[in-house]
């Protein structure tokens, strides 16, 4: 399907987006989704697998589907295969098996047509240290043959301003801090209007202020209709920013859903703070509270559908001294650990 320039997006094509829009955690996304112009998911992988020459399977039959207009958080511990997946998405490395589709076209076959519409930041910033920030931007833009040389300098200026580097544009990258390099890497991705941004750990090395700025920037870009695919291990970032998330563990995709869905699955737990641990445990077991865990000062478990006021009354009746009583909602981190079966240790 080809549009004549100037024609507004076809309502027929965007209609399909209604489905993805409603999945978004925020109401505004439904509207921004329509700017994505097509209902095709910008990132699709089928059975994507990468086996390194060492025999190690870094990515193991991953089926990703990133809805248009979403801010998609790609999570996983270090070494879980996130960056390898991203490299395959962008055609930097060849999959051992499986397929990648970016913006509806097969990768890496269609990379020359697709990648100009994709802004990418892969595994940390990489620049010519002996050149200025601006010169670096100009070089990477010159490598893209669809980029207009007449507007190159102006676009570089805008991109630098957007990431707050205007004052450092003429400084050699050698003298940049890690945070500044990270900003410059984001500026490379912003040199052109993109339909998709693939950002690998975009806030790595940034101070809290910088992290906040990048978050705002990502929201702004998403509002303009750009789909954002961002890998991160900062769960707070995901909670604040993302509409969708996928979790990788040991090369496998263990979960993929909307944030709203992920949150709703985090079932609250009953936590009783008491010196009478044994008695409390017995009482709660008797009442049908599942998955009980006893720590030094607390007993906690899954109350299921049991009314908690009844539970409190039962504990009091059983002469359990209650120092604290309530429901606690587990954090995303707990869910993450439950999914990956590990903390942030490097996967084997």
């Amino acid at each position: 399907m080809t549009l004549t320039p100037g024609t507004p997006g076809p309502t027929g094509a965007t209609g399909a987006l209604g489905a993805t829009g409603t999945l978004g955690a925020t109401g505004t996304l439904g509207a921004t989704g329509t700017l994505g112009a097509t209902g095709t998911p910008p990132v699709v992988t089928r059975g994507l697998t990468k086996r390194f020459r060492s025999g190690q399977v870094a990515v193991d039959s991953v089926d990703l589907e990133v809805p248009a207009g979403s801010i998609f958080g790609f999570l996983g511990p270090n070494g879980s295969g996130k960056t390898t997946t991203i490299r395959m998405l962008l055609g930097l490395i060849a999959p051992t098996s499986g397929e990648v589709e970016l913006l509806g076209q097969p990768m890496p076959k269609a990379q020359l047509a697709v990648l100009p519409r994709v802004g990418a930041l892969v595994e940390g910033p990489a620049f010519y240290p002996f050149w200025t920030g601006q010169a670096n931007l100009l070089r990477f833009d010159a490598a893209d043959r669809t980029a207009d040389p007449r507007t190159r300098k102006a676009r570089a200026g805008e991109a630098l301003e957007r990431v707050g580097l205007s004052n450092a544009a003429g400084k050699k990258v050698r003298n940049y801090s890690l945070g500044m390099k990270q900003r410059l890497a984001i500026a490379v991705a912003l040199m052109q209007q993109r339909d998709l941004l693939v950002l690998d750990e975009p806030t790595n090395g940034l101070d809290p202020q910088g992290t906040r700025e990048v978050r705002l920037l990502i929201r702004e870009l998403a509002k303009d209709g750009t789909t954002i695919f961002t890998s991160t291990h900062l769960l707070a970032e995901v909670e604040q920013l993302c509409t969708h998330a996928a979790v990788m563990s040991r090369g496998k995709l263990v979960r993929q859903s909307t944030m709203a869905e992920l949150r709703s699955e985090l079932r609250p737990r009953l936590v009783v703070r008491t010196p009478d641990l044994q008695q409390a445990e017995q009482t709660l077991t008797g009442l049908g509270v599942a998955d009980l865990k006893v720590t030094e000062e607390t007993v906690d478990g899954d109350p299921g559908e049991l009314p908690i006021d009844k539970l409190a009354a039962a504990l009091v009746a059983a002469d359990v001294r209650i120092h604290g009583f309530g429901l606690e909602r587990p954090s995303l981190e707990d869910a993450f650990v439950a999914l990956t079966g590990e903390g942030f240790d490097v996967a084997e």
């Binding site: 080809t2 320039p5 097509t38 010169a135 490598a143």
Partner: protein, 283 residues
């Protein structure tokens, strides 16, 4: 599918030249390149000053060096000839070893790939920049030799190897032709360097390996027992440039050298292409 964003974009293939220009900027925008060129520019000056200070007419000196004191123009030819066995190959080795391995070690290769530069196009841009560097290197010697020659020695009509005398302008043109021929002679080595550079992410290793290959060619060329393969060695025809100083120029060995360089370039460029288009960019 096309959307409004893409419709506002210039069509693909319109600004192909930009990468080639950027590549030249990368090579010639580095202090290292200018240091190499400065060293090459110093060769004629050193040789010229040394001959001038020695005060001897140099009649007992061999080849082009012996003619420098009599005609400054020969400083150009003598300097080119003196730089050919070592200085020029070293410079080409440094620049070609850096070309792809340097990008890989900085990580900028992945930025170029996702830009997208296109792997074949990037390789072509690298090779063109290398060829331009080879030419810049010999032209530097040509220019520096001409200036030093005019300043330090008398200049006049040129007596060729065949004994014919030609005008100064003709002599200058022939010296210019020699600079171009020597630049072309370096292309085979540049191709080897480009290929080696595509294999590794360590520029220093690429430079060392390329220079190592150059030395191996030199050693093979020095072993008389294997003289059957000598005509096929990289440097076999490197001295053919002197045939341009005959009247009429003796083209056979010149053309043969150019063909040999083209063959080396084609083989190693193809190997580099096979490597870069299939390589996993992990750096």
């Amino acid at each position: 599918m096309t959307d409004s964003v893409e419709a506002g974009r210039p069509s693909a293939g319109r600004h192909t030249v930009a990468l080639f220009a950027s590549e030249l900027h990368l090579v010639f925008g580095r202090a290292r390149t200018w240091v190499l060129l400065a060293v090459l520019a110093a060769v004629p000056i050193m040789v010229g000053v040394a001959i001038r200070l020695s005060g001897s007419s140099g009649d007992d000196a061999q080849g082009f060096l012996g003619q420098v004191a009599g005609n400054g123009l020969f400083l150009v030819v003598a300097s080119l000839a003196l730089s050919l066995p070592f200085f020029l190959p070293t410079a080409v080795t440094v620049i070609s070893g850096e070309s792809l391995a340097g990008e890989a070690s900085l990580g900028t290769l992945r930025n170029l790939m996702t830009a997208p530069a296109g792997r074949s196009r990037l390789l072509a841009a690298k090779m063109v920049a290398l060829a331009v560097f080879c030419l810049a290197a010999t032209m530097t010697i040509w220019l520096s030799g001409l200036i030093a020659g005019v300043v330090l020695f008398p200049v006049g009509d040129v007596v060729l190897l065949t004994g014919t005398t030609v005008s100064l302008g003709d002599g200058l043109l022939r010296a210019f032709g020699i600079a171009i021929l020597i630049a072309a002679s370096l292309l085979g080595l540049a191709g080897i360097g480009l290929f080696v550079s595509s294999l590794t992410s360590t520029p220093l290793a690429a430079m060392a390996a390329t220079f190592g290959a150059f030395i191996v060619f030199g050693i093979l060329g020095a072993i008389p027992q294997i003289d059957v393969i000598h005509p096929w060695l990289l440097m076999y025809g490197w001295t053919s440039f002197a045939d341009l100083l005959r009247d009429p120029p003796y083209w056979d060995s010149i053309v043969r050298n150019l063909l040999l360089q083209a063959a080396y370039l084609a083989v190693f460029y193809a190997a580099a292409w096979a490597r870069i288009t299939s390589r996993d960019i992990n750096g």
